[in-house]
Subunit: 337 residues, 2 copies
DNA sequence: TAATTTTGCGCAATCGTTTGAGCAAAACGT
DNA sequence: ACGTTTTGCTCAAACGATTGCGCAAAATTA
């Protein structure tokens, strides 16, 4: 019979009115000058009958759900899983719950999820957007604070916190240069995605005035793509490249697999460097040199940003500005190049 | 101005009452003999004003949230992340949303999450339990259907779907025997956990009447544990074991790292086999032979089980029985032993 | 003692929906 | 033409909380 109790139960048990009970239970007792006697009796009774507020009713009445909608494009991707883990924890610490939706890289599912967030009256949204246009999110942002993470739109005033992919790619390419590689291949992910475009730009900017050859192929953040592109280019007798820059850990794995098939020694015959975090990369042989994204820092910043907007709006202030942040990734040097 | 419209807006716009509007919008039109004219006008108006039902109000009134609470002990663990991904997708397909909570292996946080699920009026709970007792979940189960996944309690009537860890461990140990290994070391995870106990039992049962030596050490599903135990036992000149059975992928990684430090060739000087799924294991060199858990099948079964209970209860039938399932894992043979 | 202030609390509306009960008008049967 | 059924809809009460307003009794002041 747990939890069948509501505010009326307590009201009749104690002889006080529901208003008084509510005020006591929401901590507004002194504000309304409720007597100590009443406070004690009510709290005691609440405990005794194991009262738990109905969060749904509370939400309906107060228009606040203490819930944040978190939208990722693939929770089974370790990257987003870690992100989600951190964010859920941080929100929990602030007394907020998380409604998680997975758009699975589909604009349709993204729209459905957003619709659902609206219907569920979330207090804020943290999203890794997949759609190509910011329009819908900007529209929603007028009602509910939205913060973008990991991906953003080129022209938007939506707040975001992303990795500085340009700087990261540049860093990786320059490291390859420094290690003496002369013919460098980039294997890309989804070309239309912002991170990929930025990485490509960084890659090219780093190499274009240098005495090296380079190219960029591929079009998916997948193991297959990494594998197939590698086979396609390295299967012949003359090797056109001496180093590979994988734009994601999945791509990297595919490439490594391909090199194994081709019997090429990674680190010796061909250098390899990767984007993305993945603790796993340290256990490959050789351990993979990579550009790691500051996941924790980004998550923290995103949550803080969201709460600062929520607070501002609650107090009727305009949104704080300058909320678009690029965080520089870090180069983790191992022995694969 | 999106979504400021409610059922009253539509009622006054169309001249019908809120009841009629509600019935049309919830698809109960013919049941209440609403005229085609009314249906058309109302649906059209709803579309025009971009009406989106307030799910919170709906939940309050109908006592149904179309939301399932999913509780995992660590969403950043790839295993649970994959699990969550599959489950979220499946629930989505059935028109349900997911409220995700992470207990982080803490009983306290688990209790908080459950409390939250109750307050949010979830229609069902899928949980990887961390607490040592089934009591609380059994109590909740009287109000809200609960299905356990991946972990269960020895004595409970709660429905669950878990890997058959006993069979899996046995399978692994027997495979090692078959490959001719004579001195086998198991590195365990958390000893108090049910999966670990079952694995240990399978391991011992497979070996105890055989002409081989064996031992089990360790007490954590962590990289460090795998590493440290390996170092402790293999650092000396005489190697006490010729094969290692890692009870999880994390343990395995630690062991592999240790063997690298010790300059021992995995697959040649020492055989190694692991529990757990992890696509990554194929990219290690040598690829790791392992016992894989049927994650997708388990998730599907869990969701189906949950829905069958929900349906039964909606119709006032008793819960279906025989809902405790152990799914046999599969041996994936690679070249590490 | 009378006027004023403070203390402590209750009434009832409200959030946006759903739903049991009821009712007038139209259609039908005889 | 008059009772009966069907059609098509409306009324108003929930669901469980929060909250603006108001008001009697007690305490204080003059």
């Amino acid at each position: 019979m747990a939890s069948k109790s509501n505010i009326f139960t307590i009201a009749s048990e104690t002889g006080y009115s529901v208003s008084t009970v509510s005020r006591v239970l929401t901590g507004q007792a002194e504000k309304f000058r409720i007597s100590k006697k009443a406070i004690d009796l009510i709290s005691e009774t609440a405990r005794r009958v194991n009262y738990q507020p109905d969060l749904v009713a509370q939400t309906l009445r107060t228009r606040q759900s203490r819930t944040i909608g978190l939208l990722v494009p693939g929770i089974d991707n370790p990257f987003f899983a870690t992100l989600a883990g951190i964010i859920i924890k941080m929100l929990g610490d602030r007394g907020y719950h998380t409604l998680l939706a997975d758009s699975r890289e589909s604009e349709t599912e993204e729209e459905q999820a957003l619709q659902m967030f609206l219907g569920r009256k979330v207090d804020g949204i943290i999203s890794v957007p997949v759609s190509s246009s910011a329009a819908r999110l900007e529209q929603i942002s007028q009602q509910i604070p939205v913060v973008l993470i990991d991906r953003h739109f080129r022209k938007t005033n939506l707040p975001y916190v992303c990795t500085d992919n340009y700087a990261g790619a540049r860093m990786a390419a320059e490291y390859l240069l420094q290690r003496g590689y002369k013919r460098i291949l980039a294997i890309q992910g989804v070309r239309s995605s912002m991170p990929n475009q930025e990485r490509l730009r960084g890659f090219e900017d780093a190499l274009k005035r240098q005495a090296v050859q380079y190219a960029a192929v591929g079009n998916a953040f997948s193991v297959e793509n990494g594998h197939d592109q590698t086979i396609a280019l390295f299967a012949g007798a003359d090797k056109p490249f001496d180093a590979v820059f994988a734009f994601s850990a999945t791509i990297l794995l595919g490439a490594i697999d391909a090199f194994r098939e081709l019997n090429m020694k990674v680190g010796k015959e061909v250098g390899i460097i990767s984007f993305d975090n993945n603790g796993f990369l340290d256990f490959l042989d050789p351990a993979v040199t990579r550009v790691e994204q500051p996941l924790r820092e980004a998550s923290e910043l995103a949550v803080e940003t969201l709460f600062s907007i929520m607070e501002a709006r609650r107090e009727g202030r305009p949104d704080p500005d300058l909320l678009q942040r690029l965080i520089p990734p870090t180069l983790v040097v191992r022995s694969s190049c």
